[in-house]
Symmetry: C2
Subunit: 113 residues, 2 copies
């Protein structure tokens, strides 16, 4: 079973067939990370309830937390107005970032005037 | 003045020289939209405090709200652990989405099991 064609028709993929997915903790609103999905990763995410991405560096599907235990249980998925970005609201187990930080945006804050 | 070289050295751009920017309302945590920045857009954002993007369709810089009035005043900017995503926390004036919705993710919710 591939991705529901009614959803696939609305997706606008980049030239590699990917769409960025913004991942947010469902209750606190923390933005945890950004990852990439193709149709199959979105299909697996929607049907399993477990966040699944396409790793651009490893060129492989990646079930978040499969090796680290830091899974993301999906509570809510939406496409944006253009169909070119996905928002996932998840229950994050442990740290979202591979560095051990809660989010991937904790370490490198830039100053604003 | 270009982007601070200490920041530019940490940025990992796609093959078009762009980095995705996740835009979040600073107090409620709502994810408002995703847009794209090159070095100059990030430089303008950091030095003016006003969210400025690169429009891939129009191939032009785009100061959010310049025509609509729906500006984004920047409160916080961070890079992610890989330097390939930017998180902006902003004070959004009015609707973030060009459709008039508060966020670009309000209209197209997908069901999760």
């Amino acid at each position: 079973m591939p991705l529901d064609p009614k959803i696939a028709d609305r997706l606008k993929r980049d030239r590699d067939g990917l769409v960025p997915a913004v991942v947010q903790q469902h209750d606190t609103g923390e933005v945890l990370m950004l990852a990439w999905m193709d149709d199959e990763a979105l299909h697996r995410t929607l049907t399993t309830g477990r966040a699944t991405y396409w790793s651009r560096s490893r060129r492989a599907y990646w079930v978040k937390g499969e090796t680290s235990g830091h899974a993301q249980w999906v509570r809510h998925v939406a496409l944006d107005c253009d169909g070119d970005t996905i928002l996932l609201k998840v229950e994050q187990v442990g740290a979202a970032c591979h560095t051990g930080d809660r989010t991937c945006f904790d370490a490198d804050v830039l100053s604003v005037p």
